[in-house]
Amino acid sequence: GAGVSQTPSNKVTEKGKYVELRCDPISGHTALYWYRQSLGQGPEFLIYFQGTGAADDSGLPNDRFFAVRPEGSVSTLKIQRTERGDSAVYLCASSPTGRVGNEQFFGPGTRLTVL
């Protein structure tokens, strides 16, 4: 596809449930990022992949959050035992190499609502 795509666009779940959010980066981009954006705030970094490996996961808030990118393309962000505070828009971005000088291209996000 032409840009970064994310599915689903909206996800409503109940407290305590497990959710998976998917990101399809731009073809050929080796770097992939997950951010979380709460209402009225800027995006907050969660995790960065270079290829298949998580190069920086320092932004994951706790061990309920996990992300994978097994083949170096599509990534899945997994949230266990969801809490109401997890409600936010989850944004994915990709860039060609992850080096300085490469802008990050963002997807439209997944709006997660935990009831």
Partner: protein, 112 residues
Amino acid sequence: EDKVVQSPLSLVVHEGDTVTLNCSYEVTNFRSLLWYKQEKKAPTFLFMLTSSGIEKKSGRLSSILDKKELFSILNITATQTGDSAVYLCAPLGSYNTDKLIFGTGTRLQVFP
């Protein structure tokens, strides 16, 4: 702790006005600063600034960085209703990874 402050938080203007959006930062291992425009969901890239004092321009938008005083400004001249959006400032603040550290943004509303 890394910190990014944008001002004003909100701005309401009429078409044709000129606006200046401010971004100050305190970020370790600073390398560059990016500006994004966010209309609905996906932030779209505007500028990347790496060197002080060099203005970047794109149509009616321009931006400049001051690495000594740790701030950047984004100017929009002859504003149009299509400029209505949240403008996000994001320094790159990690030596090993390209994680962006976003401010809360400035919400710009342009009325006809």
